[in-house]
């Protein structure tokens, strides 16, 4: 178990440096003159140019620039964006918002997917099962670029059940609709996986044993089958996170939520290298940490992994 953990940790470190390097390279390497790009049409005074060149180590070889940047990053110094705002400050606002949003989305997705998955696995071929099949197919075929504005139009503007947009310090309630939209990205797959997994486990020998022990169906399914069926679902949450982050870019844009996705879009549009690389680096870390946690959770759920 410990070795497994260390191995995963080392893999994570490698992934981190690889991914950030690529993003860094994409953002900076092919800009002939990033400073001029920032200044736009205006001519840049020589002393300003020199100061900026110094600050961003633009005279050093590329790999060294990356090294300086990483050093700053790992000591908590994200530098300033090209618009001269401290990036740390922007992060302190954006990250909690996005984490809250994706957290609600994951909870919604798991609650709905696991419950519906169990019910349709138990009543295979029934009305409920067929209905969820149709709904999940619809969800899978509906891109979030369409779904997000559609949901906003219907629930936010027409019915006015929830606020149509969520501003800077948006409360939980304002995040419900965006979270629902976001969860639609992962709910369908999670539901299908839960259903398949429960259906398979229901047929297994240990279920027969559990029933032979005189346990009620509720306990057989809620304890014995559920614990086994959750194993693949939990693994899925790790990979789902990538989908959620991609979805957050669209969702936050549509609902005007100043989260990570929102910042990233702005940074990319204005070619703000430090901003984009800073956010992406943290994104990579979050992604790695969540996957590590998922792996550990996986081991908690399945003792056969734990004792390898």
């Amino acid at each position: 178990m410990f070795r497994y953990f260390v191995r995963r940790l080392l893999q994570g470190v490698l992934t981190f440096f690889g991914a950030t390097f690529i993003v860094y390279a994409l953002m900076f390497a092919n800009q002939s003159d990033p400073l001029q790009a920032l200044a736009g049409e205006r001519p840049l005074p020589e002393n300003v140019r020199q100061a900026l060149t110094e600050r961003y180590h633009l005279d050093d070889p590329f790999i060294l620039q990356y090294g300086y940047y990483m050093k700053g990053l790992l000591t908590g110094d994200f530098g300033t964006s090209l618009t001269n705002r401290p990036i740390l400050e922007m992060m302190e606002q954006a990250w909690p918002t996005t984490i809250r949003l994706s957290f609600i989305a994951i909870i919604i997705a798991v609650l709905i997917a696991v419950t519906a998955g169990i019910v349709s696995a138990i009543r295979r071929g029934g009305v409920f099962d067929n209905t969820t099949l149709v709904i999940t197919l619809l969800l899978l075929s509906m891109p979030i670029v369409v779904l997000a504005p559609l949901a906003q139009l219907i629930f936010g503007m027409r019915l006015q059940w929830v606020p149509a947009t969520a501003g800077a310090d948006s409360g939980l309630f304002a995040l419900v609709l965006p979270a629902f939209v976001l969860s639609s990205l992962v709910i369908a797959t999670q539901l299908r996986v839960t259903r398949a997994s429960v259906a398979e486990n229901l047929r297994s020998d240990y279920v027969r044993t559990a029933r032979a022990k005189g346990l009620a169906d509720r306990r057989v399914i809620g304890v014995h089958v559920l614990r086994n069926s959750l194993i693949p679902v939990v693994t899925l949450i790790g990979t789902d996170l990538g989908n959620l982050m991609a979805g957050a870019i669209v969702t936050e844009g549509v609902f005007n939520i100043p989260g990570v996705g929102f910042m990233l879009v702005r940074g990319i549009r204005t070619e703000d290298g430090p901003l984009v690389v800073g956010f992406v680096s943290i994104l990579v870390i979050v992604f790695l940490v969540v996957n590590l946690v998922v792996d550990l959770l996986y081991a908690v759920l399945d003792p056969r992994i734990r004792y390898e």
Partner: protein
């Protein structure tokens, strides 16, 4: 373990003078897409305390389905009991409401399965899986359940029970796992234990140990034991009586010694001749020719007739042979049982 059991698990109508277990004219069918498979077509079985009944027959003859029907754990759908009675001390289990039926399991009738690895839940410790019985059926505390689980592991002779209680099924050897299954089945002190091929998945040496353990526990607790197997060699030492099944019926039932000496049904005889024997080393094994019937289309008359050396016209037409009384406590479903019994004993 003389606790509140009596108060919790009284079944209304339980009659201690009635037979321990009496299965009568049991019919089970599986309604599948391919059609209705008649897996059990009138099984009669009875069992007394302290007795071992072996149920024998080729693969697919309905041994496990019979056991599952008695336990009430058939996969339903597709499986349905369509006729018959399963009386436990006079109470027809088939007529009980599900809630009471559920309490019969483990409390009165328990079962162990062939493959203990897949029969145990891989993600829970065996302490959890054992303790669960006490917590759910008896409402005992976690600690108490744990203490009793350790006692059970001791009972089935698992070394270092106190340490192993937290282990998971995959950490045990095959034989030890089957011991855990036995411990689980005996936890609530049932009166009937059904063992469905408990040793088939094990090494030969371990097989003997498990059989001995079962016999010992049966004796100590005066349980009725139903031992399902398709190995005629295994049952000779442990069983008191044998019921031989074919195509969902008991075709012969007899005390174990009688059946070995003089089988009264051609199928039993063929089974006996298929046992490898030491003095027949090197000779061709006499395997029964042909296949058991397709349960979707069981032939008219005696279902064994396509494979039977004694078959005549009367065997091929309905009605199928009735249950003839061969001797006291001995029956056979064969029109020509007198001829079969009269023949030379098998193998000599």
């Amino acid at each position: 373990m003389t606790d509140i059991k009596a108060e919790i698990d009284v079944l209304p109508g339980l009659d201690s003078s009635a037979r321990l277990l009496d299965v009568e004219n049991l019919h089970v069918e599986f309604r599948t897409q391919a059609g209705v498979a008649r897996a059990i077509n009138g099984v009669d079985i009875h069992l007394d305390p302290g007795e071992t009944l072996a149920i024998l027959g080729e693969s697919g003859c309905g041994k496990s389905v019979t056991a599952q029907a008695i336990m009430g754990i058939l996969d339903s759908p597709p499986g349905f009991v369509t006729k018959g009675a399963i009386r436990y001390r006079g109470v027809d289990l088939l007529k009980l409401p599900e809630e009471q039926r559920r309490k019969v399991r483990a409390n009165h009738i328990a079962m162990i399965f062939q493959d203990a690895l897949s029969a145990l839940n891989p993600v829970f410790s065996i302490g959890f899986q054992l303790g669960e019985l006490f917590r759910v059926h008896r409402g005992t505390s976690r600690q108490d359940a744990r203490r009793r689980s350790i006692e059970l592991l001791d009972l089935v002779k698992i070394p270092a029970a106190r340490q192993r209680i937290n282990d998971y099924p995959h950490q045990f050897s095959g034989g030890m796992r089957q011991r855990v299954m036995i411990a689980m089945a005996l936890a609530l002190d049932p009166k009937v234990l059904i063992a469905d091929e408990p040793t088939t998945a094990l090494d030969v040496t371990v097989q003997a140990q498990i059989m001995n353990l079962l016999a010992e526990l049966r004796r100590e607790r005066n349980m009725g034991l139903i031992l399902i197997t398709h190995d005629m060699g295994v049952v000779a030492d442990v069983a008191d009586r044998i019921s031989v099944m074919y195509a969902g019926k008991v075709v012969e039932e007899a005390p174990v010694l009688d059946i070995y000496a003089r089988p009264a049904h051609p199928y039993t005889k063929a089974l006996l001749e298929s046992i490898p024997r030491l003095d027949m080393k090197g000779q061709q094994l006499n395997v029964i020719k042909g296949l058991p019937p397709n349960l979707l289309r069981i032939p008219a008359g005696c279902p064994f007739h396509p494979r039977c050396a004694y078959a005549r016209d009367v065997c091929r037409a309905d009605p199928p042979p009735q249950q003839y009384d061969v001797a006291p406590a001995r029956t056979a479903r064969c029109h020509f049982w007198t001829e079969v019994v009269g023949d030379e004993p098998a193998g000599s």
